[in-house]
Point group: C2
Chain length 290, copies 2
């Protein structure tokens, strides 16, 4: 990200009903082999279009998982393809369970010999701070990253995450419980931790609170673009680094994957739409961190 | 459960390092085909041993997911085998995401044409009440069940779930937000809702609070047996039905799957150990609800 000069993370969300015309095959149903093939083709083409210009891609597991066993194969090949193209891969799986079970999830995605190894994984903390630890141990051992859900950008997340407690809003209870591990996983020379957290560009004031509690956590910033948050709101809590402001990755998916008018036209128009949206997001975020 | 006279739900958790001697093959690693085969054989044998005596089995997805694409195939075959044996299947997947993505997870597990269809699914609510709704809509349409994580039994879950808020402990914020859907999904003649919630036998006083908020929610009761909670604590919040106390299913896994001494001996000893543990749990819980 320092080398590229911007913190954009492209979210690769292959929603079947949104797939652009050039990729659509027949009835587009999760049960159909040609649908799985269309998803793979779409993901590969996006990777071709962003490689070299973006540091990290975030894959939404649900959209592969619903394709069944075939989807699992597609997911593995897309991960391999993205990494071969020089991209880091963040798997947005939001897994979480009691420690012994969490260890199995960590083994699936973060262990050196994981069957579906990625560079980082999103983790849901609802079962307690100790249930996040097996992921952190695996991340530490294999030099991978973990992004814990702390604050989300969908409007309804506030119903739980912003509930008042004696220690501040509920998300601050979660943030505070991660402090020790955030510190422990701050290794190497970047000054940043392998333990990251989600923050919402749509609630930038919350981001500042979270930054105070977790000074070294990389943010996965949600809600930029499609949900209307500005680049300035997205980089709240970033701080001056050797190449500009830094402190996380800003996710954007739909505006880049499915440029509105272009998605219903031919391959060339869609590709042009993707590249335009990508360039706009990069220059918007790049200017904000400059 | 009314016909069987007890609320036991067997948790089918094929932990590799705990698999009994008769099923072990070579090095037992997620990457090995013979390991996936051992898991399938173990699960099938458990189903043989409990079918007819238990109404529902709970499968822990993580332990299949870590076996990669092969694990997905094993999971589907085990689900089919359990249903053919007359068991209801609850998939313990703890999925949860923003609504559009939650819809994809619901399609994977709850839709009539799901590639991995089950009778009920566990759901993690951390992203907000609206993120549970796609699962509930799918459950309503396909007459399936959803179990929302509200209160868990692992000791550390209290660090988040019991945090004080103006509306009571945090888990009550979650419980209260589910009231409308609990009501809406109370259909048919049983008096119970297709929206269930987890409760912890290790925190039976919390169960009573949850029962007041959700009078028709079936409980998935955690923490009975291995975590030391009694049958009396496990059935807290149950109420008198046509065949005894009812109101949920009480999960037990390790004491039944891995009867301590017997797991290290031959097939016959292990099977005897499983049947003994099963009979003990059934008579313990059966006496409590009689």
């Amino acid at each position: 990200m320092r080398a590229l000069g911007h913190p954009l993370c492209v979210g690769l969300d292959p929603y079947l009903d949104r797939l652009p015309t050039p990729f659509r095959r027949g009835a587009m149903a999760p049960q159909r082999p040609d649908t799985a093939h269309a998803v793979e083709e779409f993901c590969s083409r996006i990777i071709d279009l962003i490689a070299g210009d973006v540091a990290i891609v975030k894959l939404q597991v649900a959209l592969f998982e619903r394709l069944g066993g075939r989807g699992w194969g597609v997911l593995r090949r897309v991960i391999r393809y993205a990494r071969a193209a020089g991209l880091l891969v963040l798997l947005d799986a939001k897994r979480g369970d009691i420690p012994e079970t969490a260890t199995a999830y960590a083994q699936a995605y973060l262990a050196p010999d994981a069957l579906c190894g990625v560079d980082a994984l999103t983790v849901n903390p609802y079962l307690g701070p100790d249930t996040v630890v097996p992921f952190l141990i695996a991340a530490e051992q294999a030099a991978r990253g973990v992004i814990v859900l702390v604050r989300n950008s969908n409007p309804d997340s506030s119903a739980y995450q912003s509930v008042r407690t004696p220690a501040g809003p509920f998300f601050m209870v979660v943030a505070a419980s991660l402090q020790r591990w955030q510190e422990r996983l701050t290794q190497g020379t970047t000054g940043w931790s392998s333990l990251g957290v989600t923050v919402a560009a749509t609630h930038a004031e919350d981001t500042e609170e979270i930054r105070v509690a977790l000074p070294h956590a990389l943010f996965l910033v949600l809600g930029y673009g499609a949900q209307g948050a500005s680049a300035e709101a997205a980089i709240r809590g970033f701080r001056r680094g050797p190449a500009g402001l830094e402190g996380g990755m800003v996710s954007s998916s739909r505006p880049i994957l499915f440029p509105v008018a272009a998605s219903k036209r031919g391959a060339r128009a869609w590709e042009h739409g993707v590249r335009s949206a990508l360039t706009r997001a990069i220059s918007d975020l790049g200017a904000a961190v400059a």
